[in-house]
Symmetry: C2
Subunit: 145 residues, 2 copies
DNA sequence: CGCAGACCTCAACTAAGGTTGAGTTCGATG
DNA sequence: CATCGAACTCAACCTTAGTTGAGGTCTGCG
């Protein structure tokens, strides 16, 4: 029972991912598999949790590269525990908060501009190149959608 | 003064868009231009407002195709008024609200799952294929980013 | 007029996140 | 042992939103 490895088809069925996506994630280093003597992939059960994490992360808006980095912090020596997954999930929380905050600011700005009707390239919060340049100062702008 | 048409370089400088982006938007039908006898583009001043609208819309997360559709509702016979732009901007407000709401739900779900540590493919709100299928029922899932 | 810099078109390329298809091989069942 | 679905690899393609480069033309200033 410990040695129950899953075939690609089984993983696809249980995770809802396409087999082609499994191949892709493996090429990208997000998951891994062993091979049968006949060169077919076999997955350990915890791949399902990884795929779960990948999907949730994508919903949060994290690009695959960062998801890979997060997954890389999992211990290789043992199967990840609940605590491991909790730690990773908690890491996205701030991303999500920042994103929500940004969209709320955008909404408020949009309301202001609906009032002023401007969309002006000068002077409009929503649309000022100068401000955008300023915003780009600290940190990446990935959150900007 | 009425006949002041802008060159691509001037529009690029004033809008912050690259000239290549102006070409692209024109190919995609989001903006238009007239030509000099020597085949160079000249833009009416209101192209700046269009570009402003395009940028704001992209910040809201609207794909170019939909932005084009929105711009297509502007009257061709006259220069768009402040009311026209207000109408379009207001249209995005609900998109933004829906998006924010969705992210807030996601955040709450994530909190729940940080508690349960699950990321389980069954039974976890964050990660249930059945639920995702249900969600996909009405309308596109573009907001899900 | 001459020349630099801005502009033209068209094709190809980028990035992310995969999907699709062709041609071939495994592996489990009858 | 034949067969058929599932799996394999590799290359090509898809979408979105543009950028880059090659090769050629305009426009305006001196």
């Amino acid at each position: 029972m410990n040695a129950h490895l899953m075939s690609p088809g089984e993983v696809a069925a249980r995770s809802g991912m396409a087999v082609s996506a499994l191949h892709f994630y493996e090429r990208e280093g997000l998951i891994s598999s062993t091979r049968t003597p006949g060169n077919q992939r076999r997955y350990r059960r915890d791949v399902l949790r990884r795929l779960g994490f990948i999907r949730v992360s994508q919903r949060v808006g994290i690009p695959l590269g960062e998801i890979r980095e997060a997954l890389a912090t999992l211990p290789e020596s043992r199967t990840p525990t609940k605590q491991d997954w909790t730690r990773l999930s908690r890491g996205w929380r701030s991303h999500l908060d920042a994103r929500i905050e940004q969209l709320e600011r955008l909404r408020d700005d949009l309301d202001g501009c609906i009032g002023c009707g401007c969309l002006s390239l000068r002077s409009c919060t929503l649309n000022n190149p100068g401000d955008r340049l300023a915003e780009q100062g600290p940190g990446p702008v990935r959150l900007e959608v």
